[in-house]
């Protein structure tokens, strides 16, 4: 059964899509965790859901709605660049309202059942060749942009006062990071769904920074953990007919727990 499935085209597409998404989710996750804006990922993701549901209602491709929804919230959070408790409360307020809108859109949309489940919990094995192409394009944009702004973004993420003093455009980089995060999130939703985005954007980065104190190594390790989770999850779901997202979250969470235990013993 397993080996037969492994010959299937849709499985290859799923593995490729998973790999592409893991690279960008793992890489941007390190900056998200370093800046302490994990909650914003959730908001961006849920508003991606709202956008997708809205697109379904008016008969557009849900992916376009999802990317738009994520980008709008990403831009707002980046421009506001809030700090501390105000950031969390504002993020929460936006998130709740967005989800409320999403519920309305879903109730207006007739054939919602499967579409909604796929959006919320992912449908990696349903990725089409066209979707894979757009995933690769989005991932390439995020990866190239991150490579170009890596140093100044790291500087402004870990040491904003001195970065600003040295002429680094801290605010513009914050907006850029949130826009890239929105793109990465929209891509990740295709694999694990709106509700489980954190398992690829946050968990691998959080595990990686328990294992290394080097910023470059943390990014590579985070990507590796995201890759292991996604590809491992897809392969396991071929063997046992449980949701792929369950396997992905289980692997990434296990790695996270092991990393924490290892760090605690040091």
């Amino acid at each position: 059964m397993f080996w037969q499935l492994l010959q299937e085209h849709f499985v290859h597409t799923a593995l490729l899509a998973g790999a592409v998404v893991s690279v960008v989710a793992g890489a941007i996750g390190v900056f998200v965790v370093a800046r302490g804006v994990s909650f914003a990922v959730h908001a961006i993701s849920e508003l991606g859901f709202t956008g997708a549901a809205g697109a379904l209602v008016i008969g557009l491709d849900p992916v376009i709605g999802m990317v738009s929804g994520s980008l709008v919230v990403g831009a707002i959070l980046g421009v506001l660049s809030l700090r501390g408790s105000e950031r969390d409360s504002a993020t929460g307020a936006v998130l709740a309202f967005g989800l409320g809108l999403g519920v309305l859109f879903l109730s207006l949309y007739q054939g919602y059942a499967t579409e909604a489940t796929n959006l919320l919990f992912g449908s990696i094995v349903g990725v089409s060749d066209n979707q894979l192409r757009s995933l690769v394009a989005v991932a390439a944009i995020v990866a190239v942009a991150l490579a170009v702004i890596y140093r100044p973004l790291l500087f402004s993420s870990v040491d904003p006062e001195v970065a600003e003093a040295r002429g680094v455009p801290v605010r513009a980089l914050s907006v850029a990071m949130f826009l890239l995060l929105a793109l990465a999130t929209a891509a990740t939703i295709q694999v694990v769904g709106v509700l489980l985005v954190l398992t690829l954007v946050i968990t691998p980065a959080a595990a990686a920074q328990r294992l290394t104190a080097r910023p470059g190594a943390a990014i590579l390790l985070s990507i590796a953990i995201a890759l292991a989770s996604t590809e491992g999850g897809i392969l396991l779901s071929l063997e046992k007919d449980w949701p792929t997202s369950f396997f992905i979250t289980t692997i990434s969470f296990t790695i996270y727990v092991v990393a924490r235990l290892r760090a605690a013993r040091r």
């Binding site: 390190v30 370093a34 302490g36 490579a147 170009v148 702004i149 890596y150 140093r151 100044p152 790291l154 500087f155 870990v158 040491d159 006062e161 001195v162 970065a163 600003e164 003093a165 040295r166 002429g167 680094v168 990686a208 920074q209 328990r210 290394t212 104190a213 080097r214 910023p215 190594a217 943390a218 760090a263």
Partner: protein, 262 residues
């Protein structure tokens, strides 16, 4: 002084709406000079640093660093902020923090050149931080972090050092160490220092001149000239006593700062 001044401020004014932080501020800072900037909270000390960094534009007047606008000449002004805790599990080592002072502003930066690696090592040695350079910054003490911050500011071989309350939350031993590192740099390399502080005592042995900002006015001169009953009473517009107790300067009778701002 035969060499031209490094910092030159002429008729500098800074206003936020109705409130003037200072006006008509003129001073020059030559090579190797150590200038302390003192004053109550909200008197414009940090704003002056931001003017020198080119992050704020003056309401009137002009400030130049080596004859150029600060915003066009920022590439190597060393800046040490006040100590701020890093998250314990931030993936950043001491040497990474120092490295950001060298290439943190560069886009599409590649691998570190051997010469840059040597500069980072030299900066770490100079502040005595080599032993913990590979530890995550988040697990280091405040004093160790401030040593790294000095190394970060020095690694680009700055022509001017701006330090903003670098001693806050440090114990006395570390205050002395950090002041000593900054003092040594200006003596060895002639880098002038602008040192913002609320307390002049930790830097009394090294300071050349004091710029005191208070109540929209200012005074500049030697410690004895500025930190005097007469000068501070004039700045605050009320009777303030300046005493010398066992070599320390003690200021008595400064009006309540909140009240003062109105």
């Amino acid at each position: 002084m035969s060499t031209p001044p490094v910092v030159s401020a002429e008729g500098l004014a800074l206003r936020f709406g109705e409130r003037e932080l200072f006006g008509g501020l003129s001073f020059q800072l030559g090579r190797g000079e150590f200038l302390a900037v003192l004053g109550p909270n909200g008197s414009g000390k940090t704003s002056l640093v931001r003017l020198l960094l080119g992050l704020t534009q003056p309401s009137a007047g002009r400030v130049t660093i080596e004859g150029r606008e600060p915003s066009t000449n920022r590439a190597c002004v060393g800046y040490v902020p006040q100590q701020r805790a890093f998250e314990r599990d931030l993936p950043l080592r001491g040497r990474d923090l120092v490295r950001l002072g060298l290439d943190g502003h560069r886009y599409a930066a590649g691998r570190l050149a051997a010469s840059d690696r040597a500069r980072i090592d030299a900066a770490l040695v100079a502040v005595g931080a080599s032993a913990y350079a590979d530890a995550p910054v988040g697990v280091l003490s405040g004093g160790e972090q401030q040593r790294l911050r000095v190394a970060q500011a020095l690694v680009c071989d700055p022509r001017l050092l701006l330090v903003d309350e670098p001693l806050l939350s440090l114990d006395l031993a570390y205050q002395r160490i950090v002041v000593g590192l900054i003092d040594r740099r200006r003596r060895d390399a002639g880098t002038p220092v602008v040192f913002v502080t609320h307390d002049v005592n930790p830097i009394l042995p090294v300071v050349d001149r004091v710029l005191y900002l208070a109540g929209g006015t200012w005074a500049i001169g030697s410690v004895d000239e500025v930190m005097s009953t007469e000068t501070l009473s004039r700045l605050y517009g009320t009777e303030v006593d300046v005493l010398r107790v066992r070599g320390r300067v003690v200021v008595v009778g400064v009006p309540d700062e909140h009240h003062h701002e109105h």
